[in-house]
């Protein structure tokens, strides 16, 4: 396959997508955290519909990547664990959306099946 071919270019486009965010459950978590300032685990459980173990696992991966920060706050007199997207996470989410938009816009409008 000659270098710079169309197939080569399409493969490069798809690999620019952030695979950490691309996973549907993690995308949902990032989307819900993107639209608020911060939220707790119960909020994410009710909004995403994930199980506790699943959510915890995905949060760990996002935290390891530096996309999500977990902090303890006091709400009233009770300590509460709140999650929020870091600046890196917000930037990564925006870049993911833009790269997905680019990939989809470059697809042909209609595929003709013979």
């Amino acid at each position: 396959m000659p270098p710079g071919s169309e197939r080569d270019r399409e493969a490069k486009l798809s690999t620019n997508v952030d695979r950490l965010i691309h996973e549907p459950a993690r995308f949902n978590i990032m989307a819900y955290l993107f639209v608020v300032q911060s939220a707790d685990f119960t909020f994410l459980l009710t909004q995403t519909g994930l199980t506790w173990g699943n959510l915890s696992s995905h949060i760990n991966k996002l935290e390891t990547a530096g996309y999500v920060a977990v902090e303890k706050e006091f709400i009233g007199k009770k300590p509460h664990t709140m999650l929020h997207l870091t600046n890196k996470g917000r930037l990564a989410f925006d870049e993911y959306r833009n790269s997905m938009k680019q990939v989809l816009e470059n697809l042909p409008n209609q595929l003709r099946l013979k």
């Binding site: 608020v36 300032q37 939220a39 119960t42 009770k78 509460h80 993911y96 997905m100």
Partner: protein
């Protein structure tokens, strides 16, 4: 597919979900019922009793709603919108209260102008109901809960009908009926909410701390 996701809609859906517990419906219904009972029985203090139930409502939200839905800090833009809406509501309430004071002074000193006396006799109920309905409609617009528009219409219609029944001393009945309908609606919504969002298991509650 991620690109079908509209982040603005997600944010609005999240914000609206905090008003789908039925507690504000129940509180609004209690106010209407308090007003209706006060009109029917002549016991004006009932309105103050109902207003004090706001404290109970706040406790309910803290103890029942938030542990089920979780805690969230909305974006600064949303917080600004909420503050603006609250300000509009407070200004409207203050204006209504001042108007009430002015009317009270005029009537107690027998200084009511003729046109105002006629208006009070013919349109007081409709105007009072209109102001209440306006407040509910503003809440509906800010929160984006469509059923609040229906409540606003119900409130206005009940006061208009109440005004028409004044001659029969039945002006409180339509307001009681409207309050009862909204109370039932709120109770149904609260029941559904409690079923849909059970309390999270203890391990989540303790882990999230």
């Amino acid at each position: 597919m991620p690109m079908d996701v509209n982040l603005k809609e997600i944010e609005q859906k999240v914000f609206r979900s905090y008003f789908h517990d039925g507690l504000w419906d129940i509180y609004g219904a209690l106010i209407l019922l308090g007003l209706g009972l006060a009109i029917v029985s002549g016991l004006d203090y009932l309105i103050a009793v109902v207003a004090a139930l706001a404290v109970v409502l706040l406790l309910f939200r803290q103890r029942i709603v938030k542990p089920r839905l979780g805690y969230v800090k909305f974006s600064p833009e949303r917080q600004t919108k909420t503050k603006k809406a609250t300000l509009i509501a407070m200004i409207t309430l203050t204006f209504t209260a001042l108007l009430g004071v002015v009317f009270f002074v005029l009537f107690s000193t027998n200084s009511v102008p003729g046109w105002l006396d006629i208006w009070m006799k013919n349109y007081f109920f409709a105007t009072f109901g209109g102001i209440q309905a306006l407040l509910v409609a503003v809440a509906a617009y800010v929160v984006g809960v469509w059923r609040y528009y229906i409540y606003a219409a119900l409130v206005f219609i009940s006061y208009v009908i109440g005004g028409m029944l004044r001659s029969n001393d039945m002006e409180g009945i339509p307001i009681l009926i409207a309050g009862s309908i909204i109370l039932i609606s709120g109770a149904v919504i609260l029941t559904r909410f409690l079923r849909k969002y059970p309390l999270p298991p203890k391990e989540i509650d303790s882990a999230s701390r």
